[in-house]
Amino acid sequence: MASHGVSFDDLYRRSTQYRLWSYTREQLAQQRREVNEKGCRKVDERLTSTPEVSASSIEKVTMDEEIALISFHARSIAKLAKFFNMPSQVRATGISFFRKFYLVNSVMEYHPKLILLTCLFLAAKSENFFISINSFSKRIPKTTPESILGLEFEILQSLKFTLMAHHPFRPLYGFFYDIQNVLGPEVSTKELGSVYDAARNLINEALISDAIYHFTPPQIALACFKTVNEELTMKYLNKKFTNVKVEDDVPKSTDYDTLVSVITECQQVIKDTPNPTKDQAVMIDKKVQFCVNPSLVLKRKRDTNEPDDANKRPRVGAVEGGASTSP
């Protein structure tokens, strides 16, 4: 091992992203189960301290509903990042922090709407796109600097103080070059350019999926390429990774068949990204609100005569950047 030195794959294996935030499917599911159970226990705790509320009136959020809600709010982060003209790196890191937070905590413990704000703010700081807390919170209705800053520690702890996130953007860029290298005149720059642009957009989808937990950034990048243009990608992979001259000191880590199957799996995971509708999200959100604050149920009971109108409920997460309706 010493004679080979260190490979780049080895360097990746030293990153916190690999060590702490990479899971098998089973491990991830197990983790979510435990988090959901933790959330349920928290709700029970709250119920015991509010005896006037009956346990049966509070519906707990299921694991799948948690995932759906997180996905929905992750997209909100993307929109918010665009609103603040933040670069893709900040946007992606913000989403990464947010999703990781909810691998450790349940939505029933912390309502997503403030968490997502602090995650984005923290991501901006971490990625050197500094924005002052005042200018940040000023443009988000119904928020105060204190409420956002107050959650910083909580989020850092849930992140286990790991702030470095590796995204697929740069690997995508790298493959954009290497494809030119390997395929040369077989691919037109125009075609490659448009494939690249489409793949880059797809990465934004991938960031919201579980891909980042089961696959490495380069694999995700290639999966996106493959989804956009299967033929081109396979041509590249074929030419690059088959008939590879195995030199003595270059470890043969990329076996063609394994790589292709991994990339194909990744494509599927990206496709399976939950994409709940607004209404679905609002419905789950309502549940969350009651879980977080059981006494709200009593308020609802009081207003029993009024129809269950979504519009009457307090707006969740000022996503549209200023669009506020009911007080």
Binding site: G5, D9, S22, T24, N181, V250
Partner: protein
């Protein structure tokens, strides 16, 4: 008080009582037999005819003129001990390298010390001297061999020092020559520029002329520099020739086993990239030393960092190992 005594002793010979005032160049000698000090003229006078008894009262040891020497150390005891050591060491002349283990060497040293101690402090002097004599006789060839070795080493050392000195002289000379040539080059350049300007051929030729001058000068200076390097190398290697580095059998590697292995890609000189094309022509980028090659290197490296990490497989293995 003692200081006065010593000073007086330095100023007056106890035998002839000559004062330094009367003979300012008076020098004192001692004889290793009894270490009694007397002035040079006394030594000449008393022992010119051959061995005679020491003039000090109560001494009377038979002394030879040629054994007299200048006292090196102020403390006569130290002088005595050093003389004894010299004598014994001529017989016990092995060095550390002659022994297989540190223990053996230490035993040898202890033997030497015992003998010296005995002689210096007058303990069993006769028996010890006998022992010394016997040792010398039984190890005669070995002793002579060692002596020859030491002699050779000393000569080699002297030679080396001389060589180093010569090299250093040469180095200084070459450095001065380089400096001189640099100055000359500057002068020549100036002259060339003036000449070509004067001949009215336009500035284009002036720069050409300058570069010509530079080229020829460069050739010379690079030759000089090579010479300098060779000298420096010679200087450095002579330092290492001692074999001190033989102990370190582990070869030195700059990365200490941490070198990153080769890339899985080639980097071309340029790629189709409208985004970078726009940036790299901007003044602030060029002035900052921005290089597109660095961007190629980075994103290509990232593309292949982790490509071969199969998380599902690897994390499962890790998990199984723990459980």
């Amino acid at each position: 008080m003692n200081v006065d005594m010593e000073e007086r002793q330095q100023d007056m010979c106890p035998i002839c009582k000559t004062d330094r005032y009367l003979s300012p160049d008076m020098k004192f000698l001692v004889n290793p037999e009894c270490y009694h000090k007397m002035c040079e003229s006394c030594v000449d006078r008393i022992f010119a005819m051959g061995p005679a008894p020491c003039p000090y009262p109560k001494c009377g040891k038979t002394l030879r003129k040629n054994k007299f020497k200048t006292q090196i150390f102020d403390n006569i005891e130290v002088e005595r001990e050093v003389d004894v050591r010299k004598r014994v060491s001529r017989v016990f002349n092995k060095v550390r390298e002659d022994f297989d283990t540190l223990d053996d060497y230490n035993k040898y040293l202890e033997e030497l010390e015992d003998i010296v101690f005995n002689i210096v402090n007058g303990v069993d002097v006769e028996a010890t001297e006998q022992k010394l004599k016997e040792y010398e006789e039984s190890n005669k060839p070995n002793i002579e061999e060692n002596n020859a070795k030491r002699q050779k080493e000393l000569e080699e050392f002297k030679e080396q020092e001389q060589r180093k000195h010569d090299l250093r002289m040469k180095k200084n000379l070459i450095e001065r020559q380089i400096e001189q040539e640099a100055r000359e080059m500057k002068e020549l350049e100036k002259k060339e520029i003036i000449n070509t300007l004067a001949s009215g051929d336009g500035t284009q030729d002036a720069t050409k002329a300058v570069s010509q001058v530079r080229k020829s000068m460069l050739k010379r200076s690079s030759a000089r520099r090579k010479q300098l390097d060779e000298i420096m190398q010679a200087l450095n290697s002579s330092r290492q020739a001692k074999g001190e580095d033989k102990k370190h059998n582990v070869p030195f590697t700059p990365f200490n086993g941490d070198r990153t292995s080769q890339h899985n890609f080639d980097i071309h000189d340029s790629y189709y990239d409208p985004f970078l094309d726009e940036l790299k022509s901007k003044k602030e980028y060029i002035a900052s030393g921005f290089e597109v090659h660095a961007v190629y290197d980075r994103v290509l490296t990232e593309a292949f960092t982790g490509l071969g990490c199969y998380i599902e497989q690897e994390k499962k293995e890790l998990n199984d190992a723990i459980v």
